[in-house]
């Protein structure tokens, strides 16, 4: 009986730890962007790194971070870091996150980054994203260097005390490892096909 409980507990732990940890090599993808083109990381051979943002239209946390994500994309592109956003939600569960709605939002907000649709929900589980927004910072070899939140204040960018993502990029640029390398991404759970 105890052994059974141990095995069960182990299974639960294994399941909850699915997805990438810092140091793992992240998979590339080929996903449709709101402009209709397919986008992959290999399209950016000169990139020094990638800021992969799992985000969506409907989640209030994602909306709060929209402008900050757009600013990060503009600010870090000249430094060689490509920000790529991926909507992982199933539109049947959350119609506001349909591809058409993504196109509208990308246009309205003049997104300065590719906004991709994880059609069939194949990519986010490999990364281990569970929320929107959920950040994965990769170096140029696609090694995961930071996972988690953008910063420590979703509601008010002016009240932020710790810029987790920007600090992680700064560390990476200096050739060191981000500390912390993992924070908890706060947001809405990813809406999985029922």
């Amino acid at each position: 009986m105890n052994i059974l409980i141990f095995i069960l507990a182990h299974l639960v732990l294994t399941v909850t730890h699915q997805g990438y940890q810092p140091g793992d090599v992240a998979t590339d993808f080929s996903l449709k962007s709101t402009d209709g083109k397919m986008v992959s990381m290999k399209d950016f051979p000169d990139a020094k790194g990638f800021i992969i943002v799992f985000t969506c239209n409907h989640c209030p946390f994602a909306i709060k971070y929209e402008d900050r994500i757009n600013d990060l994309a503009k600010r870090y592109k000249p430094q060689g870091y490509e920000l790529i956003a991926i909507n992982p939600n199933d539109p049947e569960v959350q119609p506001a996150d349909s591809f058409e709605a993504m196109q509208v939002r990308a246009k309205e907000k003049s997104f300065a980054f590719p906004y991709l649709f994880d059609e069939g929900q194949q990519i986010f589980p490999q990364y281990g994203a569970t929320k929107t927004p959920h950040i994965f910072l990769l170096d140029k070899e696609r090694v995961v260097r930071y996972i988690g939140a953008i910063d420590d204040n979703v509601e008010d960018a002016t009240m932020v005390q710790e810029k987790y993502l920007e600090n992680a990029i700064a560390a990476l640029s200096q050739g060191s490892l981000p500390e912390p390398s993992v924070t908890k991404a706060i947001g809405c759970s990813i809406k999985v096909k029922k």
């Binding site: 909850t16 939140a149 420590d152 204040n153 979703v154 924070t183 908890k184 991404a185």
Partner: protein, 167 residues
């Protein structure tokens, strides 16, 4: 006679008006530490603590389950605490009207501490960072669930199991 009827009607209407304006009280906490210092002092009471927000669809959907399960323990030492993580700029426009519309019998707390990474592990290390989550506490015993309950019965079993284990 018309005068009296009008008087009666106007009294009735104004009374109704007062009732509808009666506000549900809530406790506000600036920090998680302040909430912790205040909370969960009676060791023989079972606390049902639910973290929610008005903008969270699954949270709002399961709130009636909590109210109903809580009422079924009316004669026991059980307390329901609904901890809201509503956006601070939506308190007047969303949170307070929502409370006044629903009049919860559980206590409503508003936690204003936005540095989630500093405190969510204290609620439970397995909390990924999404809501709703539910924590049951009695003395040193705790039981945590992330994600919504599928039905009132689902929540009822969750609470009942904990209460019988903690006796």
């Amino acid at each position: 006679m018309i005068f009296f009827r009008t008087l009666f009607l106007s009294l009735f209407l104004s009374f109704g008006h007062v009732l509808s304006l009666q506000a549900q009280e809530y406790q506000s906490f600036e920090s998680f530490d302040a909430l912790k210092a205040y909370a969960f002092k009676n060791n023989d009471t079972t606390y049902i603590v639910n973290f929610w927000a008005t903008w969270c669809g699954p949270c709002v959907k399961e709130l009636p389950y909590f109210e109903s399960v809580y009422r079924s323990y009316a004669s026991e030492k059980v307390k329901l605490i609904l901890v809201s993580l509503d956006f601070l700029n939506k308190i007047e426009s969303h949170f307070i009207p929502f409370l006044n519309e629903h009049h919860f019998s559980g206590e409503v707390w508003l936690l204003r501490d936005r540095r989630f990474n500093k405190w969510i592990d204290e609620v439970d290390p397995s909390w990924s960072g999404a809501i709703p989550v539910t924590l049951l506490i009695k003395g040193g015993l705790r039981k945590f669930q992330e994600g919504e309950f599928s039905s009132e019965e689902d929540l009822s079993i969750f609470v009942q199991d904990f209460i019988s284990q903690s006796k």
